[in-house]
């Protein structure tokens, strides 16, 4: 069995197998992947600096994304999208119900916080496990069909979970109000809270909300404990996804995408592989859900609504499905737009176009305004359509095309990521 898959691997993707065969493997990664991994590590660790390029009080300061809440969202939704990409990018199965796993993970996490301890470790571990079990059930049923039927089945399961969480399961999910840790919760592992203290998520005493600020000239950098916890988890998740992409298992998933029939003719059943991919990506979603709870200690059912499932699809496609770094980029872009672009209002636009004559200034403001502020979804929809139409490989493909223009003729295969096909 393993021999067979190895053969498959070597014949089907020379790029990936050359990486695995090369002698200089570090941490099980080929040189190219190691470079990518190293880059991602550096970028995430230095994010508080990199996302805060503009000094406080300047006109551009509103574009700073280096505040803890948003940085946490970048990495957490990065995890979510990485997981989705393992399913969609490798096997081509388009799930429209992934938010259900995120939500289930969140609920499991918050119950650990209510019953066991405010330490985030059990919450995260349990949310991954519970989401994995749920994904196993949903996947086992949904994967009996493929194509649009699979999408509809996953959508049906997710909407069912959402409706149930909203109505009947209110004792477990808190219904419309959602759940958050209360002072009166048992928390059998934690000691009694001091009088007046509220329960806070922590990692062995290190509070997630803790952090320190560093003032350099006009720049204010915030280093937040929660962000770094989430970032480390994200790096581990990213590392695992590289290993999955380069493994014989990953090859099999690509085989499922490119031609299931041929796979069956070689005597292999695609089902165990797709189911494994589905469960893994469900566990990634659960991990993201657990981390979300660890950061802001609250859950609501709207997290499972199908628009949330649609969002992760957008993230993955925007960044580039089937690429390693694409989903993370897509998640970052969407969360950036959601938090930064949506804050721009008409006054700020008037400042921008201040240099123009009045008539032109007003015209420009009127032209630009529908696309920003509350209308940021419109921009997102247009970008998304353009990407699907012209760049099926997402932003990563766009980057590769641009890079290819600059070094045409030199080395055509110097791209840092390999698309799935």
């Amino acid at each position: 069995m393993t021999d067979q898959t190895e053969q498959h691997a070597t014949s089907a993707a020379p790029a990936a197998s050359s990486a695995t065969q090369s002698s200089t493997k570090v941490l099980g990664l080929g040189p190219k992947d190691f470079k990518l991994m190293f880059l991602v590590v550096v970028l995430t660790m230095a994010a508080p600096f990199l996302l805060n390029p503009f000094p406080e009080g300047s006109a551009m300061a509103q574009f700073n994304a280096g505040y803890p809440d948003l940085m946490q969202r970048f990495v957490i939704f990065g995890i979510f999208a990485i997981g989705f990409n393992i399913l969609f990018g490798l096997t081509g199965y388009l799930s429209f119900g992934h938010a259900a796993f995120l939500g289930v993970g969140s609920y499991a996490g918050i119950w650990m916080m209510k019953l066991l301890t405010m330490n985030v470790i059990p919450a995260i571990v349990v949310s991954v496990a519970v989401a994995g079990v749920f994904a196993l059930i949903v996947g086992y049923i949904s994967l009996r069909r493929s194509g649009i039927y699979f999408s509809i089945l996953t959508l049906a399961f997710a909407q069912m979970s959402y409706s149930l969480a909203y109505s009947v399961l209110t004792p477990i999910t808190g219904g419309e109000t959602g759940l958050q840790p209360k002072v009166a919760d048992p928390r059998i592992l934690d000691g009694a809270l001091e009088a007046g203290a509220s329960p806070r998520a922590n990692l062995f005493g290190l509070e997630m909300g803790a952090g320190f600020e560093w003032q350099v000239g006009n720049w204010l950098f915030t280093f937040n404990a929660g962000y770094y916890v989430a970032a480390v988890v994200m790096l581990v998740a990213f590392y695992l996804s590289i290993r999955i992409f380069r493994s014989p298992f990953g090859m099999m998933l690509r085989a499922v995408k490119s031609n299931q029939q041929r796979l069956s003719y070689t005597g292999l059943s695609p089902k165990p592989y797709t189911l494994a991919a589905f469960v893994i990506s469900g566990m990634y979603a659960g991990l993201a859900g657990g981390l979300l709870v660890a950061m802001d200690t609250q859950v609501g059912a709207e997290r499972m609504f199908w628009t949330a499932s649609g969002e992760v699809v957008l993230m993955t496609i925007l960044g580039g499905a089937g690429t390693l770094i694409g989903p993370v980029l897509g998640a970052g872009l969407i969360k950036y737009m959601e938090n930064i672009l949506s804050k721009i209002n008409k006054d700020i636009l008037h400042e921008w176009f201040f240099f123009l004559p009045d008539g032109f200034e007003n015209l420009m403001v009127e032209l630009v305004y529908p696309f920003i502020g509350k209308g940021w979804h419109l921009t997102l929809g247009i970008i998304f359509m353009l990407v699907v139409i012209f760049l099926p490989g997402g932003l990563v493909e766009g980057g590769q095309k641009i890079a290819g223009m600059f070094k045409r003729g030199k080395d055509a295969d110097a791209s840092k990521t390999t698309p799935a096909e």
Binding site: G92, L94, I141, R144, R145, S146, G147, I148, Y149, S151, I152, L153, L155, A156, F157, Q159, M160, S163, L164, Y166, S167, V168, L169, Q260, W306, T307, G310, V313, I317, P370, G375, H377, L378, L380, G381, I382, F384, M385, V388, I389, P392
Partner: protein, 343 residues
Amino acid sequence: MEAIILQILNGLDKGSAYALIAMGLTLIFGTLGVVNFAHGALFMVGAFCAVTLSRILTLSHEVVDPTRTDFLGNPLKVDVPYAYDWFGQATGDAIIDWAVPLSILFAVPVMIIIGVVMERGLIKHFYKRPHADQILVTFGLAIVLQEVIKYFYGANPIPTPAPQAFASSMDMGAALGFEAGQIIYPIWRLVYFVFAAIVIGCVFAFLQFTTFGMVVRAGMADRETVGLLGINIDKRFTIMFGIAAAVAGLAGVMYTPITSPNYHMGMDFLVLSFVVVVVGGMGSLPGAVLAGFLLGVIEAFASLPQVLDVLPGLNQIIIFLVAIVILLTRPRGLMGRKGVMEE
């Protein structure tokens, strides 16, 4: 007995909407082979056609009314719709009152144009791409359409009443010979059902009894051969896309008095309509219509208090449960054709 009839009636209006949208989806899928995630948005655009028309009809100008004064003693200014000036007060009132039904005339050409532009401008380029790409690009288009509507009409639901004559409820029980007061049913919902039945009947008749429809059906069965016979099947399929868009739009227009339209109403319906299409069988028009009404009625029955006592929350999930069971036991749906969407 009364309770059963009441639930069937309750299911029919939602079922009509499902059936209309699902029929449009199936028309598009059966002719062009495209999975259109923007169909819910077309339903929503149709609903906003009604909003637009009623706004146009109530466009007014200020007139000083010399006979009345406001609380400061100045002559009162009243808004007079242009409709009064042109048609006189009584006719003008009637026209404004009947804005929603009148919107049908307005919505059909608008929706056909939108549909044809959509097909020629965007969807045409996606025939050769995988279904996943079609889903994604139409999903993106749905977001864009929603946001455009939101930009012009705001995010709040806009109440759009039915004509006075239909605004009340009627006692269906008495009409059907049961005890009076048992089955009270809003008249507009009955109108919606009849309207849906007429539209569905028209589409079927169009496909069944006209030469155009015959060619389209032939094209659905074997596009290549029809093309080889020298018939421009692409043009006809484009028109069918326009018709499907118009059907969705009409479903939206007439639904406005039942639910005040807001910019995301289409998406809510779309999710369920897809389930309906899949239950009915991909590519089968009768299947889509049957499944639409069936699921509407099943949903209504699941909302009975007696049922909810035993299985709380069943009404929320029943449609999805039915879909899951059907997909697993009858993969082609109730009336699915062989060889459609079977990779």
